[in-house]
Symmetry: C2
Subunit: 169 residues, 2 copies
Amino acid sequence: MQSLQEKASEWSGVNPNDAFAIDETNLYRKLGLQTFINLSTNFYNRVYDDEEEWFRSIFANSKKEDAIQNQYEFFVQRMGGPPLYSQRRGHPALIARHRPFPVTRQAAERWLHHMQQALESTTDIDSDSKIKLLNFFRHTAFFLVAGDELKNQKQSIACKHAASKPAAV
Amino acid sequence: MQSLQEKASEWSGVNPNDAFAIDETNLYRKLGLQTFINLSTNFYNRVYDDEEEWFRSIFANSKKEDAIQNQYEFFVQRMGGPPLYSQRRGHPALIARHRPFPVTRQAAERWLHHMQQALESTTDIDSDSKIKLLNFFRHTAFFLVAGDELKNQKQSIACKHAASKPAAV
């Protein structure tokens, strides 16, 4: 059975080395806190204004300012900065925290569309960092699509209509 | 509704500041790769030899050497070292990857019992690092107990016998 990482790589077209090239340099130190705040603000302004209602509605139960803070605190922590996210909310636990949302391939592509636009229109992000971030985001988005499938496996188990083989994670 | 972090703090008795004091210094640089390999080897030797069959059996479908590698690679990455875990397996996604296992409070306490013994019998871990690691482990263990409860919430939703309110994560 394919692992989460294998699925993420195949579906995103980004191999793990490129996805985690974000760790070659400390991008937090290179770009700074304000750049990540700007990026997440820019991103969620686009998401909450999305003309595609099906995508915009995924976020309807979250306050925009909370979404922005959760995202930039995670980015800062993951990119080598202070662990702002964990101090406030605990482990990122990315798949579990996305459980309430339908993370389909279509949603991943729409998320990436807005993030690419946000990256392009946020100043002070050099092109090398931009490529690294995009590869990380693309791989992660499809990692979460793979994680979303675990919900369906569990449904079968929960309802006892299928074999209760544990998910290979 | 209590967040994962709030549940983890209440049940473990460790507040987030103490849990994430591991980030005050780079423990990977302080302790080194070999110490983490030794710690995980020591830990899993105890687990796979546990006289408590109910706990030992949780690990029956995993190879000991895989369990050791997964654990020390995660520790190294989380404690400020190279991202060994993500390069090989993707995001830690701690809650999702513990889905196949029954992470009860009793299991958390047994895990911590073995880890405390392992910490005490692994050389080259100074007492300050030991306290930081134990606080992190204790908080994380109960964070995963809180995460384990999400499975039950989902069961209700999956079987359509209960309200389909998304989990507050």
